[in-house]
Amino acid sequence: MMKAKLYILAALAALGWAAPAAAHDHGDPERGAAVFKACKSCHQVGEGAKNRVGPMLNGVFGRPAGAVEGYRYSAGMERERAGGLVWTWDTLDAYIENPKALVSKTRMNFRGIKDEQKRADLLAYLRLFSDNPADIPEAEPTDVSELPNLSPEVLALVGDPAYGEYLSSECTTCHQVDGSDEGIPSITGWPVEDFVVAMHAYKEKIRPHPVMQMMAGRLSNEEIAALAAYFNGL
């Protein structure tokens, strides 16, 4: 949904109109601290937090489920741990919304929070007590990824090479504009269609390369078309 808005912004920007900030509301940690009061009777978080009725919540983002040392988990949570459940923004969000829906027979006796904004606020607060990606780059995201969801009309758009040139600066950190291909492949002069197909294959995670999946994953179809048009002309 937000991505669609970005397209419009991008299109306007291409016409020389500076794009303002896209609106974001992914949770306010201050409001989240107030929401956390309901959790406090069982959970501690912050400096010196210890396991109480429930496990302490420092470092919960990126941690496998049921993995706090010294805490005795329910069989249900142990099973989820064995099944590979990891606490991310998305899985925590689902768990807080309805604990027993995600983890059957969890001992967490909590009816859940139906209000999406409250959950976002709570997670933004808890996120403060996990690793910071600036220090440990592999730490869990602090923001929610917005996956593109496009209509056929947008798919039919022809790429704008000027926008492609701007976007290309992300590619040229690794791929050289002179077409050198040692260690990293050349992407100049490709037929537009081949370029578009390859980028979508990365975006859909069909082609396996984590950097390219990541880079293509957040490009809209229009942006891919713009890049294809630009690199085709080099």
Binding site: L6, L9, A10, A13, A14, L15, G16, W17, A18, A19, A21, A22, H24, H26, D131, N132, P133, A134, D135, I136, P137, E138, A139, E140, P141, T142, D143, V144, S145, E146, P161, A162, Y163, E165, Y166, L167, S169, E170, T172, T173, C174, H175, Q176, V177, D178, G179, S180, D181, E182, G183, I184, P210, V211, Q213, M214, M215, G217, R218, G233, L234
Partner: protein
Amino acid sequence: MKLNRRGFIGATAGATAALAAPMVRAASHGRPKVVVVGGGAGGATVARYLAKDSQGAIDVTLIEPTRTYYTCFFSNLYLGGLVDLNYIAHSYGTLAAEYGINVVHDWATGIDRDAKTVATAGGYSIPYDKLILSPGIDFVEGSVPGWDISAQNEMPHAYKAGSQTELLRAQIMAMPEGGTYAMVAPPNPYRCPPGPYERVSMVARILKQHNPTAKIIIADPKPKFSKMALFQDGWSRHYDGMIEWVGPDFGGDKVSVDPGAMTIDIDGEVTKVDVCNVIPAMKAGRICEMAGITDGNWAPVHARDLRSKMDDNIHVLGDSCAQGDMPKSGFSANSQAKVCANAVRGELTGSAVFPAKFSNTCWSSLDENDGVKVGATYEATDEKIAKVDGFISKTGEDAAMRQATYEESFGWYEGITSDMFG
């Protein structure tokens, strides 16, 4: 290579012209002036993109004291004997000759924000409409008791590449048989989160070849570090028994050194060592503090254009800025530079400003042909640059994948240095 680049500039000229709105000229002096302080991954990139994309409409000055720039990234590979020093050395000749950037080899020593001028050690006063600071890091005084900058010959930091890197390499090669290399690792946040641990891998590599009974001790104030599982797995596969990591549970956060005696004291236990690589706590390059745009150790900036929160006419890139989730890396600085260049050019010439997009990938070498990486994408929110997605190499990847990642890191090095220096 050069021929193609000319073709590239030619091709972009048309596209830019089609977009350009009427130019907003600076009130006082013809072409708008941008002064960039610092010629590393942030500064060189932003200078090059401003000059390239504005087609001469912006007067770009780059102030950088060194004539030959040694990249900090890949300097560990020099320590490990995988590249020679020349490989990481770059000049500013192309930026001056082909992009028309006024490259001033001098130290920026002061900023007058009211007059909008930069003073240099050479006695010049350089006016600007927009100032972009990308000075990298300086060290927090007193962060490692016993160490200060006057001890950097006995106990090198080698965290600004060049003579320090050469010195550290020479000291490693001169270690007695079975000697000890100690590293004092820095607290968060610091330049290049995996850097100290890649360095240990590279030091172990060279010692394994020349001095296989030598030992490595790392005293670390952090309980956890970037790519920890990958490094520890690599160390046990390549350098089993050679490396001892002492985290805060065992006193890694209570360290002092004596450069005269060449000893390191870890929580009361004093050890005589042969090389002591002290990487102190870090802060923004000092020019940021002198400009009065820091809050604590770093310079806070807005996420969308890296504009200082203290001064609308100053932008801060790379290690020096406090922007949010991006790690302090050359890749991050290069990524921020392009967003900043687009925004500054738009403000000065009316060109199109596109939405900010950021990314980072950090490759690390565990040994020759054994590379790992971690990366993420980021976007600008009202509060900060926020991480949205990422990946990290896995332990247990096969040798072919690790070799491909290793080779890819060289491809990236070629790519980013071309992107910086032309």
